[in-house]
């Protein structure tokens, strides 16, 4: 009741009246089925509208060469002398957040960094700063000393996703409560003026083209919106069908693949037009593109589906048999690793990208998030009570790193 201070007698009576008016009321028993039915209806309806919308989208900025997409991490340009470190974010620990640094050289955990909340974390391309979204602020953490700097307040919009332009100068922070994007000057750690995403609500994902000239914002409104990063102006939204808000951009920057509930939609970044949706059987949970840009892997409930970027056709789904939560591709592009949170027991499954076949699962318990070191030699996966290093050469798990915070790890990021 601290939110109220002292309530008047009338306020107390009103509160009691509300509680008593709905006490014991239960929602219908088949609510999940009703929601699914409604969803199918909505998907069918939006599919028709989406096909019509494709014809009216605008031309924006053509893009160049490089590789940068959601979840792929910034490509390192400068490599200062910073101890190679794995950072694991634990959002919920008694309503606080913890970032655990782990030394890659010794596989030992450092002193935990305590924050109010630890949401999405990203590291600048030069590796010097880790930015963590913590609700109404973004906290910069020096990777040299692992100490948090002064929080950068972005208003009350609740920072959800943060992504850094490949030029290393600006970060975009999405605020999911007020549908805003706040640009952040990395050199000075000062926020710019937030701007609103006009179409769709809840900006949830950001992907920059490799040249950094265009950013795409995914929203719950089933659209992605291009942003001219030089002027921070929004282009016309591209309709991508139900669920489209997670995306990855090919290394040549020409195509953004946007995941959805029943299809993955390729978007030409030159014309900002949606191509024909590529059907997938279950809602997408993660998207990864091989470094050579030839294959897009789409993780979903129990399969990983390869899509050829040359023909935009889906290959035979690779059965994993467990929900796919997170995926990572080795820098040489030879192996795709898939995190399976559920068991029994949870595992990390390697998939050969040459043959698209799953190897023997590496059983480590519920694997929730994974990341691969820049040299490609080690994969780190965080489970409920441990972090496990896995050798990518032998696909064997090393000694688990224990003494980690209790709670669900949200993300792993590794210094470049």
């Amino acid at each position: 009741m601290e939110a109220f201070g002292v309530m008047t007698d009338f306020e107390r009576r009103l509160r009691a009246a509300m509680e008593s008016a709905v006490a014991g009321e239960q929602p219908p028993r088949n609510l999940v089925q009703q929601v699914r039915r409604r969803h199918r209806w909505h998907t069918a309806r939006v599919g028709v509208a989406g096909a019509a919308a494709v014809a009216v989208v605008a031309v924006l900025v053509p893009v160049g060469v490089g590789a940068f997409g959601h979840g792929s991490g910034p490509a390192g340009r400068h490599r200062p002398k910073i101890a190679p470190t794995v950072y694991v974010a634990y959002p919920n620990l008694d309503k606080a957040g913890t970032i655990l640094p782990i030394s890659i050289a010794t596989n030992t955990p450092g002193k935990p960094i305590h924050l109010r909340f630890s949401g999405v974390s990203v590291i600048t391309p030069d590796g010097r700063t880790l930015y963590v979204a913590t609700g109404d602020a973004v906290v910069p953490i020096s990777t040299a000393t692992n100490t948090p700097g002064k929080p950068i307040h972005i208003g009350t919009s609740r920072a959800f996703e943060i992504s850094i332009n490949p030029d290393g100068k600006t970060a975009y922070v999405t605020g999911f409560l007020k549908d805003t994007i706040t640009p952040l000057n990395i050199a000075t750690n000062t926020p710019g003026k937030p701007f609103h995403v006009r179409i769709g609500i809840f900006p949830t994902s950001i992907a920059f083209t490799p040249d950094g000239k265009t950013a795409y914002i995914g929203t719950v409104g089933d659209t992605i919106t291009p942003i001219n990063t030089a002027t921070n102006t929004l282009g016309k939204p591209v309709h991508v069908g139900a669920g489209g808000d997670d995306m990855a951009i090919t290394p040549d920057g020409r195509t953004a693949y946007v995941g959805g509930n029943d299809a993955v939609t390729p978007i030409s970044t030159a014309t900002n037009t949606a191509g024909k949706p590529i059907p997938i059987s279950r809602p997408e949970s993660d998207i990864a593109i091989t470094p050579d840009g030839k294959t897009v892997y789409v993780g979903s409930a129990s399969t990983v589906t390869p899509i050829s970027t040359a023909t935009n056709t889906a290959g035979k789904p690779i059965r994993i048999g467990r929900p796919v939560l997170d995926m990572a591709i080795t820098p040489d592009g030879k192996t795709l690793y898939v995190a399976n949170p559920e068991g029994p027991p949870g595992a990390v499954t390697p998939i050969s990208t040459a043959t698209n076949t799953a190897g023997k699962p590496i059983r480590i318990g519920a694997s929730l998030v994974i990341a691969i070191t820049p040299d490609g030699k080690t994969l780190y996966t965080a489970a409920l009570n441990k972090v496990v290093p896995i050798s990518t050469a032998t696909n064997t798990a090393g000694e688990p790193i224990r003494h980690v915070p209790f709670g669900y790890p949200r993300e792993i990021v590794i210094t470049p």
Binding site: M1, A3, F4, F10, E11, R13, L14, R15, A16, A17, M18, E19, S20, A21, V22, E25, Q26, P27, P28, L31, V32, Q34, V35, R36, R38, H39, H42, P91, N92, F117, G119, V120, T156, S157, R158, F160, F176, L177, K178, D179, F202, T204, S205, V220, D222, A242, G243, D245, D246, N261, P283, S285, R410
Partner: protein, 173 residues
């Protein structure tokens, strides 16, 4: 957390909020809740990553409720005077009667005032949290809460005279 687990755990609380937002119209509340959950279901993996799926759904619920009532408000309105709500039944105890009376008065409030009162007093949200949820300023929330409370008091306690000539509107649902 799977979507099914979330619905299992949180839907009773969300449904009660929806009921209050819909003026205790059960069908409207079910529809409202379905709408909010379907939006969340579409993006479940991402909604989970917010770490606060219930707050996310609550926000959709509150905004969808406002939108719905805004549309309903385009229909003809009737004027509701202070003390104009149906009188409480004689055989009920005073407390029960007053509660029932207050709920009728709450249902007669303009949608935005009703929403802020439900979020504040039923969902225990602070003014800042309500402002976040509805995408408005804290000042707007404060004024809506205070106007809503004043109107409720006037309707529920008709002995206190409103300023001369002032009448309360409500949409016909």
């Amino acid at each position: 957390m799977s979507f099914e687990e979330f619905v299992q755990d949180c839907s009773p609380r969300l449904f009660r909020t929806a009921l209050l937002l819909a003026g205790r119209d059960r069908a409207a509340a079910e529809d409202l809740l379905q709408l909010a959950l379907e939006r969340a279901y579409r993006h479940w993996a991402r909604v989970c990553r917010t770490g606060e799926p219930e707050r996310y759904v609550q926000r959709i619920l509150a905004n969808a409720s406002n939108d719905r009532w805004r549309r309903a408000a385009r229909r003809p309105e009737r004027l509701l005077r202070p003390g104009d709500a149906d009188p409480p039944a004689q055989d009920q105890s005073d407390a029960v009667a007053e509660r029932d009376f207050l709920m009728r008065a709450l249902a007669a409030l303009p949608p935005r005032q009703r929403t802020v009162l439900v979020l504040r007093y039923f969902n225990d949200l602070s003014e800042a949290e309500i402002a976040d949820a509805l995408g408005c300023s804290v000042g707007t929330v404060k004024s809506q809460v205070s106007r809503g409370l004043a109107r409720l008091r006037d309707i529920a306690e008709p002995d206190t005279e409103p300023p001369a000539g002032q009448m309360w509107r409500r949409s016909v649902s």
